[in-house]
């Protein structure tokens, strides 16, 4: 099983604060890893590191076969991070936003319509981003990530702000990930919803990562 993520005693700084202080982690292709732990323990930092948006201060960090200390940009085309922000432009409509990221990844219109359906945003595709509700924006962020067909999907508290329909969409996306060749690393506090989706769980605390007793998803 080829390793998608390999971290060895990684230290990551937020300004001068060592958010990750010697973290180790291995993630294989097709896994769905749930990341839990108290706030401010380094979970978001971990995802930003994996996305190549943060340079490791020390230690070895390899994602999709790229060494992040050397080149953080190479792997990004194959990675998508759905964080608290939607990455979109207020003046563009939902569809225009998705289209921009689709074109950047070399996708065609058919892929755009498909993904808009997947996240149930087809009817509000013409609405300007500024006018979208919080729930719609969360689903739009998911659409932006999916249309790029990433091999590594990073989700940062995806359940926050999602309505019932949104949770259903998310569950579907996560369950189908392995079959679509996608590896998922998901940070979530809503453990009762997230745990059944995950194949493995790790806990981030005090800038360190330790494996929680592995539970096979029911």
């Amino acid at each position: 099983m080829s390793l998608v993520v390999r971290l060895r005693s990684v230290v990551c700084l937020l300004g001068r604060f060592p958010a990750l202080a010697g973290a180790d982690l291995d993630v294989g292709a097709g896994e769905i890893v749930l990341v839990t732990g108290p706030n401010g323990a380094g979970k978001t930092t971990l995802l930003r590191l994996l996305a190549g948006l943060l340079a490791p201060h020390s230690g070895t960090a390899e994602v999709m076969g790229c060494d992040l200390a050397v080149d953080r940009v190479a792997a990004r085309r194959a990675i998508a991070l759905v964080g608290h922000e939607t990455y979109c432009y207020d003046d563009l409509t939902a569809r225009e936003n998705v289209k921009f990221f689709a074109r950047a990844a070399g996708r065609r219109d058919a892929d755009i319509d498909a993904v808009m359906d997947t996240v149930a945003l087809s009817e509000s595709a013409h609405l300007v981003h500024r006018g979208l509700s919080a729930g719609q924006r969360r689903r739009l962020a998911l659409a932006v990530a999916l249309v790029r067909e990433p091999q590594l999907l990073l989700l940062d508290e995806p359940h926050a702000g999602l309505d019932a329909m949104g949770r259903e969409v998310l569950a579907g996306v996560v369950r189908r990930a392995p079959s679509e060749g996608r590896t998922v690393v998901m940070v979530s506090h809503e453990v009762d919803i997230a745990r059944p989706l995950a194949t493995r769980e790790v806990r981030v605390d005090g800038g360190l990562i330790e494996t929680v007793v592995p539970r096979v998803a029911s």
Binding site: L13, R16, P18, A21, A55, H57, D205, G206, L208, E210
Partner: protein, 258 residues
């Protein structure tokens, strides 16, 4: 810093010059400055055309020379910092130290140019090509130093940004020089700074001018080393605190886990 390897000796070099060499340069600088004062004010003959006011030239020309030298050092150090193989904190600090000195010498050159121009040509500011270029260089320096004062989230990233800014400005200097030369030669006007129009500088005057240039360059080298030393000390304190914070964080969390 993650990427910036420590210097070859493994330890960041504390200063540019070995202490012995620095003291020697210090002494030679003082001696040459004293000689400059003697020659500049008394030794050199009074210029028949410009009178005593011409003596300001012995400080203005060296200052202007130092302004361009300091800018070249900043640009060279920035280029070395950007090149991954030679990237090291040394170059970033050297670029910053040289830029700060550059601001001082450029400012001095402009003020002295003005003080020299007033008695000789009756104007506080002459639109002479070299003076205008020096003025633009002054603002390029100010911009760079202002940028350096703004901290970046990632220290290495901030240093890379500053290095690129230095090179962008450096490329501009020759363009400014040519465009200003063309602009001013259109209005051919005898000014105090135009060598072609100046009476031929020779004899003791020439010697004094050389003395000034050497004394100022030595002073620049000495101050560069001292300013670099200050940067090391100021960075050193920050680095130590950072390493301590990391060590603390690891020990406390390890304590919890174990």
């Amino acid at each position: 810093m993650s990427e910036a390897e420590r210097d070859d000796a493994g330890l960041p070099r504390d200063e540019l010059l070995a202490p012995m060499l620095r003291r020697v340069i210090g002494v030679v600088t003082i001696v040459s400055l004293v000689a400059l004062v003697l020659f500049g004010l008394w030794g050199a003959p009074t210029d028949e055309v410009q009178g005593d006011a011409q003596r300001v030239m012995y400080l203005h020309v060296p200052s202007a020379w130092l302004a361009y030298l300091a800018f070249f050092v900043t640009a060279a150090a920035s280029a070395l910092f950007l090149w991954r193989r030679t990237r090291a904190e040394v170059w970033d600090r050297l670029a910053g130290a040289s830029a700060e000195l550059g601001v001082m010498f450029t400012g001095l050159a402009l003020v002295l140019g003005s003080i020299w121009g007033r008695p000789v040509w009756g104007v506080w500011w002459a639109w002479d090509a070299r003076l205008v270029s020096t003025a633009l260089l002054f603002f390029l320096f100010l911009g760079y130093c202002a940028l350096r004062r703004i901290p970046a989230a990632d220290p290495v990233g901030g240093a890379k940004r500053n290095a690129i800014a230095a090179l962008i400005a450096f490329v501009d200097v020759p363009i400014v020089h040519f465009s200003v030369e063309w602009w001013r030669t259109l209005h051919q006007q005898a000014t105090v700074f135009n060598p072609q129009l100046n009476p031929q500088i020779h004899g003791v005057m020439g010697l004094t001018l050389w003395l000034g240039t050497i004394a100022f360059t030595l002073l620049y080298v000495y101050l560069l080393d001292r300013r670099y030393r200050l940067a090391v000390l100021e960075d050193g304190r920050a680095d130590r605190e950072l390493e301590r914070a990391i060590a603390e964080r690891i020990s406390t969390s390890r304590g919890v886990v174990a």
